[in-house]
Symmetry: C2
Subunit: 493 residues, 2 copies
């Protein structure tokens, strides 16, 4: 047996053994990328292919074969390995990773440093789901379950080295079924606003590693049927000063405000723009030269990210603005796409081939039937996708069930799993992928049964009821520190 | 305001205030009952009616009115009150409460001491659901999650003063979809047996209070569709030595054994009969004169309870045998009913008027559609109910949703809630009912929304997955003390 080929069921974690090799690969690809910077696309392509070939050959020799029969043991092996790659200094290449060159040569094969960053942003997007209060019996239904200073701590995301500086709330003026319509409680924290995401910023240590101060905006995706309903709108509305038009449902969520509102006296757009402005000025005053804006979101959140990026790029000249979207639907017309390009917005759209949502804004998830319904039949498509696509194939992962999995293939955790395993369009799923595979089944039933991970396992014990001293099951009041507040949800750094 | 009429929203718990009055009522009824023991039924009826009238008048004057608008505050008041009535000595009237007189005059109005006992047995039946491992991804799916010595402690039932002495396992020889067919695990604790209930016995203190050593057998009801499927069998099989016939599906579960089996080398019947025999002899040796057998079960469990009672009464002469069943279907023909009567088996069938299961053995609960399907159309009924009926009306409780609630009206927790609130066929729901109302929604969606108790809230955090030191979500092994074992599941006292 080859010395570097790990034995099946070997107890020394494979991930650690391979990490030196992986890092060597990273260096090779990145060297090629940097040396090719000045050269023409054809040369770069050739170089890229050479490296891909190199990777492929090496991979065939060293990769532990994943078969049905050893899946459980692989999972068991993995269970004793860390979930984060070692942090690497990317300060000298951050602009490329941030998309300055449209991720050319970094996507296929996927550069490991880029993968790590994409997963970081994806986990920020996932945080907006994980922390959302879905409980219709809670008076805080539709809010974030944690205050912004505790969000990453509660979700185990402090390792990314970011702090949340502001929560974003949104509402909609379009006369459609109200948001929070499912709430059963008369007195609720807000009758018309929902927590829609957050603004965060990299801390000093992370900023050093990634070569700049990175402002991140994470937009929450679709939650309830009523929010999806916004997507049904088939009208395009003008956005900006030119001919750009975008889907009016998305625009309404992004721009609606009400004077009488507690959380939406200003629109989501105004809230987020004001916070970005504040942060830019803060770091400018501190004399920091390098500041970037990265906007992320899944599904509806990906659409909002694009609107946000358009506005930010038009407002803050010379600010590098990137969008990392997952499963985002089409948002606007070709003028919108062209203007985004002219504004210098870099967009990387991560899509799963089998997911139907990115192909239409008119898909609705029917929670009762656990399926998607198409409502846009006969509609002539004027919506256009913007940016560069990173296409993942659900069939590449040996851990996932085959066949039609409408819900599962749309879930962000599935995207992150496939991203973690993606090497290139020609190579199999990365055996040394390090993300926790169990996460895929958080809200769906996509992992093969052999793995014995229960479907839809992300749930609170007894739906939050606790037994009091008398033995009665009662709903405890929310800890005051986590009660939403229009003032404390954005405290200056 | 009347001095004994509690103010709405008053912070001194109403239950405590009323308890003296309730106890006084108990004494009145019981005195009447005892003094009427020798007299004829007509006299007893008249006396009973007088007391009922007395109760009704008093109740109208003192009962806090339950309206939609004050439900939440009532629930909040209740949340600070104990869940158990004070224990009362029933040693001088246990035989009547155990059914020696067919519960004559104790049911309408319901004697508070009887109510307390019925709820005790009902909670033993509920324990078989609450502790059952339903997880198809567990290698112990179909077993009890706790070892028998910890069962009551884990479920908060130690207050009843019983100890579990043996677990009962069952299988079936009828060639139907296998039990545990949903298990996804290849190596399971048992491929064909399910935990089907337990034998317990009152401890010294409780025995003193209830006037005798009480052996209890609690049978688990239907869990999966495949077990319900047993009910579809429309054939009656001979049971015993006479003309008694019972439904063959129930009989198969009760009597099947396999030589090669780990848990069913002996049938459920043999296991339970052997344990009853052992306990009777144990207490005979100790010189205890008074021993009773009380068999309880819900739904299918109620059917098994009746088979068990028939066999026990035929075997142990002079042993007082009672069945307290909830939502039990019909079990056998009229000869079976007559023989039960001749054997002296006392059966109290608690039924909810709106529940369809007690009216047929051919109802199946369709888990996907959350409804019952009837499969016995056109079948000529030969099945006969045995015993005395205590009929509850779901509409009597102001806490429950109105209308068709097929699943909710069959749940044992609903039965226990209605039982707790039942005063008589003429009186409204007892305002000072003390059981935790939230329990109703454990596995269904029956409580009115105003109460803000989530539907189907009885669930384990993250379906049992735990995050390990590396941050990965893993299924922990079951604590060795709770792993089922054919030998330690029945250790002699």
């Amino acid at each position: 047996m080859n010395a570097i080929q790990p034995a099946i069921n070997h107890h020394i974690p494979t991930t650690r053994r391979l990490s030196r090799r992986v890092r060597a690969q990273q260096d090779i690809i990145f060297e090629a990328y940097r040396s090719s910077k000045g050269s023409n696309p054809a040369t770069r392509l050739a170089q890229s292919l050479t490296h891909m070939l190199h990777l492929q050959i090496e991979s065939i020799h060293t990769q532990k074969t994943i078969t049905q029969s050893n899946l459980s043991s692989i999972l068991e092996d993995k269970s004793n390995t860390p979930i984060s790659s070692p942090k690497e200094d990317i300060s000298n290449k951050w602009e490329e990773i941030h998309g300055s060159n449209d991720w050319d040569t970094l996507l296929d094969p996927l550069h490991p440093c880029l993968r790590r960053e994409l997963i970081k942003y994806g986990e920020f997007a996932q945080a907006t789901y994980d922390a959302f209060d879905f409980d219709p019996y809670s008076e805080y239904c539709g809010s974030c379950r944690y205050n912004r200073n505790k969000l990453f701590e509660k979700l185990g995301l402090t390792r990314h080295g970011y702090n949340v500086t502001k929560y974003i709330y949104a509402t909609s003026q379009i006369d459609l079924p109200q948001w929070l319509e499912k709430s059963q409680v008369a007195e609720t924290w807000s009758t018309h606003s929902n927590w829609m995401g957050f603004v965060g910023v990299s801390d000093d240590e992370e900023s050093k590693r990634i070569g700049r101060r990175d402002i991140v905006v994470s937009w929450r995706g679709t939650v309830s049927a009523s929010e999806w309903y916004e997507d049904f709108q088939r009208n395009l509305e003008r956005f900006g000063h030119g001919d750009a038009k975008v889907e009016e449902g998305f625009l309404s969520i992004y721009t609606t405000k009400f004077k009488s509102s507690r959380y939406n006296k200003s629109s989501a757009s105004e809230q987020v723009m004001k916070e970005i402005d504040r942060l830019i000025n803060l770091y400018k005053k501190r004399g920091e030269q390098q500041v970037s804006l990265t906007i992320t979101g899944h599904s509806l959140g990906g659409a909002l990210a694009l609107l946000n990026a358009y506005e930010a790029a038009a407002t803050f000249v010379n600010l590098p603005v990137s969008v990392i979207s997952f499963a985002a639907p089409r948002v606007g017309n070709s003028d919108f796409k062209d203007e985004l390009h002219e504004l210098g917005v870099k967009t990387l759209r991560v899509v799963v081939k089998q997911d139907v949502v990115p192909w239409t804004p008119g898909m609705v998830f029917n929670e009762k039937l656990q399926s998607f319904d198409e409502i846009t039949k006969g509609l002539e498509w004027v919506y256009t996708h913007a940016g560069v696509e990173l296409r993942l194939d659900a069939r590449s992962s040996p851990y996932l069930k085959k066949g039609l999995q409408l819900q599962g293939h749309h879930m962000l955790e599935t995207y992150l799993h496939l991203l973690d395993g993606f090497q290139s369009s020609k190579l199999p799923f990365r055996e040394d992928a390090i993300r926790d595979i169990a996460l895929v089944n958080k809200e769906c039933d996509l992992l093969i049964n052999e793995l014995r991970i229960p479907p839809r396992w992300y749930q609170v014990a007894n739906k939050g009821l606790l037994q009091n001293d008398h033995g009665r099951w009662v709903k405890p009041k929310r800890d005051p520190q986590h009660i939403p507040s229009p003032t404390t949800d954005s405290v200056f750094l």
